[in-house]
């Protein structure tokens, strides 16, 4: 158990913290996907926060890694099949709906006017 604050230890802790933050973010979005009504979402979000806070003080790196892996497995199990994605983002409904036309194309608005008119 490396209790000394070596650079490797700190780097590993920082990586774990980042994984935890990203996991919390995804889990929160998933909670919003499942519980669309706001009052239900608030309830579920506080429950999720409680679960994260309960293990906040754990210091052992391997235990933390195991818990993160368990959390990610639970998240993968509970992922919503039809998540809400912002319309213009990839996967949303407006994605590439009106792409910018390639440059060099010029539209001539002559409305079918003949040369004799």
């Amino acid at each position: 158990m490396s209790g000394a604050s070596t650079a490797a230890y700190l780097a590993r802790r920082a990586a774990q913290k980042e994984r935890v933050r990203i996991l919390y973010r995804r889990a929160l979005k998933d909670t919003l996907n499942w519980a669309v009504h706001r009052h239900l979402f608030y309830q579920d979000a506080s429950d999720l926060r409680e679960k994260f806070e309960a293990h906040k003080h754990v210091e052992d790196l391997d235990t933390i890694d195991k818990m993160i892996a368990e959390g990610e497995a639970t998240y993968n199990k509970w992922r919503h099949p039809d998540p809400y994605i912002v319309p213009w983002a990839p996967g949303g409904s407006k994605f590439t709906r009106n792409p910018v036309p390639p440059s060099g194309i010029e539209i001539v608005y002559d409305y079918g006017r003949e040369n004799n008119d």
Partner: protein, 126 residues
């Protein structure tokens, strides 16, 4: 011409009731920042609007003391929040501005400054 002048005079003032001539109701334009522009590329947010909305979102967070919130406050250092609270604030900002922020960049948003910069420079901020 006189009718046109009368119509224009009515447009420039917020109209509370229909005009006496019974013309079709004119659109009510409130004087101020919420002017509707009808082109699809003019609706980039102004910096003041971004700052106002970001500060409103941060102030309405239950764990935050509203009097301490300024445009360059750091979430964890100045407001005393947790890293998970940081994640929650970023999610609230995503919902407010209808953005989709990638996970890596959302992790980097640590202070009001960065949030305002990111949202202002995002092309699809709503």
């Amino acid at each position: 011409m006189a009718l046109r002048a009368a119509v224009l005079r009515h447009i420039q003032v917020p109209v509370q009731t229909l005009t006496a001539t019974g013309s079709k109701p004119l659109p009510r334009w409130s004087l101020g920042a919420s002017l509707r522009l009808f082109s699809s590329h003019d609706d980039h947010l102004t910096k003041e609007e971004v700052i106002d909305r970001v500060l409103d979102v941060v102030k309405s967070f239950p764990k935050v003391d509203p009097s301490k919130v300024t445009p360059d406050v750091h979430f964890q250092k100045d407001l005393g929040l947790d890293s998970l609270d940081n994640v929650e604030i970023v999610m609230a900002l995503e919902e407010e501005f209808k953005l989709e922020i990638p996970d890596k960049e959302a992790d980097n948003i640590d202070s009001c400054n960065l949030a305002i910069e990111y949202i202002y420079n995002h092309p699809m901020a709503g």
